[in-house]
């Protein structure tokens, strides 16, 4: 029976070509858009994790409450002990302390007077230590555009754009003017040894990457940092487990805070460390939920639009096949059977169209995954941590997601248009056929 229907479809192209093309277009668009949104979501997660949130992040409670970027006056004290504790309690994650800071980078002339100056945002990481995971986490080797990587604590990297803007030469000494954790103005002489470009406009505009120890010294933050980030070894964010880790840590840290309080010491509630999973930081939950909503809405819209188009195609086919259906009913075929074969035909159209559409969509998605789309022109003043080149991401779901609208739309379209079969009056058939 299936073979019979399939032969009918192949031999009568006017019955199958337009519906198949409609399904192919819809499915290809669904697959491409899903992969595109997925790629953007993944990029946002990876960029946010690498530069800002980690998969989990520990900050003092006061900093978590106040702003996205931790302030140096609310630092995590007793850093070594805290990192040791985190490594012991949660070995599945790689833990790394960081200091985020802001200030002015001042280039002196031969007389020590200001030659060039620019505001900078800084990231102090464990940059020099051989065992540091930071080079991998931030892809620093790949981001290096000029000069070399730092080998001493007082050596820094600056963004490529800043390098050009300030007219820096590799090896130049620059003075960082910033405020200590206590609010005093401070200066530190640092040697610029290279320029980096991470491909994230918000970072590349004016970033300084420095070694943690140099910045600890400059900002009066001995054995302190603004945050400790935790990353899963495979760099893939897992929301559920990350939240479990955060909840367990917060329970322990809260108990420790209470114990210190009852021990008669003054405990500043703002200084108690708290851990948050990536999704719970910097408004990412709403952004990720929005991405998911967009994907689902797109699929729903395609299902509805394609259903209407295929319904219309079905109606036109019914008109064209009016005589055929009449003959089939006249020779005794049951209406249910006729209706069933129409639906079965449409499912075949749906399957063929979905396969072709998925292949086409995957092809476009792979192209966008490899080449990407440069949106840096739109990100000049953006503060969101997202790559300048947006890429699609082909996931296992990309292979199957097109079948949802492909099959559902053809099924719905034919189911509605096929109802006309039940409206045919047997008594009128001969008259209609004579005409």
């Amino acid at each position: 029976m299936i073979l019979f229907l399939l032969k009918g479809l192949v031999r009568d192209r006017s019955r199958s070509l337009f519906p198949v093309l409609t399904v192919v277009a819809g499915v290809a668009l669904t697959v491409t858009l899903y992969s595109w949104v997925k790629g953007t979501e993944t990029d946002l997660i990876q960029a946010s994790a690498a530069f800002s949130t980690g998969h989990v992040r520990v900050v003092p409670r006061g900093a978590a409450r106040e702003a996205d970027a931790p302030a140096s006056d609310l630092a995590l004290d007793g850093l070594s002990a805290l990192v040791e504790e985190l490594r012991g309690a949660h070995p599945a994650l790689t833990w790394t302390p960081r200091i985020r800071f802001a200030g002015l980078l001042d280039l002196p002339d031969a007389n020590g007077e200001t030659r060039a100056q620019a505001p900078v945002t800084g990231l102090a990481i464990d940059l020099v230590a051989a065992a540091s995971p930071e080079r991998g986490l931030l892809n620093i080797d790949r981001a290096l555009r000029r000069g070399r990587l730092p080998q001493q604590a007082d050596e820094i990297l600056v963004s490529d754009a800043l390098f050009d803007r300030l007219g820096i030469r590799p090896g130049d000494t620059a003075t960082l003017i910033a405020t200590t954790r206590f609010g005093s103005l401070t200066t530190a002489n640092l040697r610029v040894v290279g320029a980096v470009r991470f491909g994230v406009s918000a970072i590349d505009r004016g970033a300084v990457v420095a070694d943690l120890r140099a910045i600890q010294r400059a900002l009066d933050m001995e054995d302190a940092a603004t945050e400790v980030l935790g990353f899963y070894a495979d760099r893939i964010y897992r929301d559920g487990p990350a939240r479990v880790v955060a909840a367990a840590f917060n329970e322990r840290a809260g108990r420790a805070g209470d114990a210190r309080a009852t021990g008669g010491h003054v405990v500043d509630g703002d200084a108690v460390p708290v851990m948050s999973a990536l999704r719970d930081q910097a408004g990412l939950a709403s952004t990720l939920d929005l991405a998911r909503l967009v994907t689902r809405t797109l699929i729903a819209v395609f299902v509805v639009v394609m259903s209407i188009v295929l319904w219309n195609a079905g109606l036109m086919a019914s008109l064209r096949r009016y005589g055929e259906v009449g003959v089939r009913l006249a020779i005794g075929e049951r209406k249910g059977h006729v209706y069933g074969t129409l639906v079965a035909e449409s499912m075949m159209v749906g399957i063929v169209g979905s396969i072709a559409g998925t292949l086409l969509g995957l092809g476009i998605s792979y192209y966008l995954q490899v080449r990407g789309l440069d949106i840096s022109a739109f990100l000049k003043n953006a503060s969101m941590l997202i790559s300048d080149v947006l890429r699609a991401e082909v996931t296992p779901v990309s292979w199957v997601i097109g079948f949802v609208p492909g099959l559902l739309a053809t099924f719905l379209g034919t189911s509605i248009s096929g109802i006309g079969v039940y409206r045919r009056q047997t008594a009128q058939l001969m008259k209609e056929l004579e005409a």
Partner: protein
């Protein structure tokens, strides 16, 4: 009859004698009390921040209203840091990096040594009568002292605080409390004089609590350890060369 006329005259004149001085006159007295050609002071700032309390000691040489030089003496991290104000320019020397940085633009809003005082506060002309017009808003008792309550309004735009409210000790001409406001009417800073001492013919605010209302922490106490008015200060103190000495 003559005696009666004298009494009537006295009664009529009484309201005239009871009239408070104008706000501008009171402000001029406040300026006159602190004004001096040359001053050398040794002071201590106790900064009670969000996380910790720090004490910073400094020595200042002040000439007139527009020139001053400050050297920080303690703690060890700040020792040797110097600050020179020459008219509208402010320079800071950091011994660790051997750099002299001109403080300008948005940096003027930064806190001095993390205190509740900004560089902008330091740059301000201490003669308030040059910057503000004042009117008397009333009389109140503050810290058991009878005070004039003055409302000050900036004479021109661009002044750090658009308006101020001031409680001036009627007898000593010392501002015992001040509230500093932005143009929007938002309270930005308060100062409370905790102790007043006499130095010759002047009354000195010996211990003052500054509080930046927009900042966490309990404020900054500024204690004058010693002060010498009309001191002799060598000319070279007010040159940029002093910073690297």
């Amino acid at each position: 009859m003559k005696r009666g006329a004298w009494l009537v005259g006295l009664l009529l004149a009484a309201p005239v004698f009871a009239q408070p001085p104008s706000g501008d006159a009171i402000l001029a007295r406040v300026d006159a009390n602190i004004g001096s050609d040359n001053k050398v002071s040794h002071a201590r700032m106790i900064i009670e921040g969000r996380g910790a309390t720090r004490t910073i000691e400094s020595k200042s040489w002040i000439r007139g209203m527009r020139e001053s030089f400050t050297e920080y003496l303690a703690p060890a991290r700040e020792r040797g840091t110097k600050m020179l104000k020459l008219g509208d320019e402010l320079w800071t020397f950091f011994p660790e990096t051997d750099r002299t940085i001109r403080i300008s633009g948005h940096m003027l809003r930064q806190a001095v040594m993390g205190s509740d005082l900004s560089y902008e506060d330091l740059m301000e002309d201490p003669r308030l009568s040059a910057l503000y017009t004042a009117k008397v808003a009333g009389e109140e008792t503050h810290r058991d002292r009878p005070c004039w309550v003055l409302e000050l309004t900036a004479r021109s735009p661009g002044i750090a605080y658009h308006s101020r409210k001031m409680w001036v000790d009627r007898e000593r001409s010392v501002a015992l409390r001040e509230e500093r406001y932005a143009k929007s009417g938002k309270l930005l800073k308060t100062t409370d004089v905790l102790e007043v001492t006499r130095s010759g013919s002047r009354w000195i605010a010996h211990d003052v609590l500054f509080k930046d209302v927009l900042k966490a922490g309990r404020g900054t106490r500024f204690e004058v350890i010693s002060i010498e008015f009309d001191a002799t200060i060598p000319e070279h103190v007010f040159s940029k060369a002093i910073l690297r000495r």
